[in-house]
């Protein structure tokens, strides 16, 4: 049985009641791991509290930071400062230089693009090639597909169709997330898989983008953030007793 993951559950984590409702709704919908975006200055006890609430609801929790840098320099500084603090690092690429830098940086897990401006979605062949080399994934938030209307939704579906074709041809993993801030926009993984057919993503690929692809990111980063990790394929097995 697949373990479904929602890497982008945008919940107000400081309100325990809202958080509790949202994570229990997420569990009911069939997810077993959620990534909740946190501010970069989040306190460790707040993270522990979220982890505890998620555990009570039966969910595994992955800490995530969404970076929206203004330039590449700011991106590099943020990555240096925050990479070891969070399990998932996502970058909202608002310009081409940022998109290129984020795609070639191994510290970036997820690339996302603005929904409102289709011209600012820089996921083309060159971007995909860089992303594939650095094992970054393309993230597709499903909430805008539900909230946008008319021409805006048509344009978004068209962009997503183009991007998923590029991602597939360059073997860039695609991650489908809810990206929702309110519970009534949360859907089951099977519903998202059906919605993904709107941009020509077949059902098995969509289900994989909701389970294996995000799970691989979390597992890879948990391994790296483990104090016993030395390098890929190399870890401390035992320490000498003092």
């Amino acid at each position: 049985m697949k373990k479904f993951v929602d890497l982008h559950l945008c919940v107000q984590f400081r309100d325990a009641e809202i958080l509790r409702n949202m994570v229990s709704k997420s569990f009911e919908s069939g997810y077993r791991l959620v990534g909740i975006p946190l501010p970069s200055n989040v306190q460790p006890d707040e993270v522990q509290n979220i982890r505890k609430i998620c555990r009570e609801a039966g969910l595994d929790f992955a800490s995530r930071v969404d970076l929206t840098p203004r330039n590449t320099k700011e991106l590099m500084t943020s990555l240096r400062r925050l990479r070891r603090k969070f399990e998932i690092v996502a970058v909202l690429c608002t310009s081409k230089p940022i998109a290129r830098q984020a795609a070639k940086d191994h510290r970036v897990d997820v690339l996302s693009f603005p929904v409102a401006k289709p011209r600012d979605r820089f996921f083309d062949g060159a971007e995909a090639e860089l992303a594939a080399e650095s094992s970054s994934s393309l993230e597709i938030d499903m909430a805008p597909l539900l909230t946008l209307k008319g021409f805006q939704r048509i344009r978004l579906i068209s962009c997503l169709r183009r991007e998923t074709v590029i991602a597939k041809s360059f073997r860039v993993p695609v991650v489908i997330s809810s990206g929702t801030t309110i519970s009534h926009l949360l859907r089951k993984p099977q519903d998202y898989s059906a919605l993904a057919t709107l941009f020509n993503m077949d059902s098995s690929l969509a289900l994989s983008a909701l389970s294996e692809a995000p799970l691989r990111i979390v597992e890879r980063n948990r391994l790296k953030l483990n104090p016993d990790f030395v390098a890929p394929g190399l870890r401390v097995v035992r320490r000498k007793d003092p």
Binding site: L145, T147, H184, R187, A194, L195, T197
Partner: protein
């Protein structure tokens, strides 16, 4: 023509009338796939339980994904927030009833 039955759960603060649910699904199919797509869906609201907020839809097997996507895309009915969840899909009404108890 083979058909599929979808058991739906309607999540909303207040219950809706049968016609509202039917119109919402039809409207969603038409919005996403146009009148041509809707004409191929073979859509029919078989059952609706206002108290339990559950419904059963029938559609053609070929249009199943299309109908599933349309149902998932419904976010409001009569300007009120709503979400429709597909609980189960089956080839016969009896099999659907066994598991989802609609």
């Amino acid at each position: 023509m083979k058909q599929r039955y979808l058991a739906l759960k309607i999540e909303s603060e207040e219950p809706f009338e049968e016609g509202d649910i039917r119109d919402a699904v039809w409207s969603a199919v038409t919005k996403l796939f146009g009148e041509y797509g809707a004409s191929q869906a073979g859509l029919f609201l078989v059952k609706y339980d206002k108290q339990k907020k559950q419904a059963v839809l029938r559609c053609s097997q070929k249009a199943l994904t299309m109908v599933h996507a349309s149902v998932a895309s419904v976010t409001e009915i009569k300007n009120k927030r709503v979400s429709l969840h597909v609980l189960r899909i089956s080839g016969t009404l009896r099999a659907l009833g066994k598991k989802s108890r609609v």
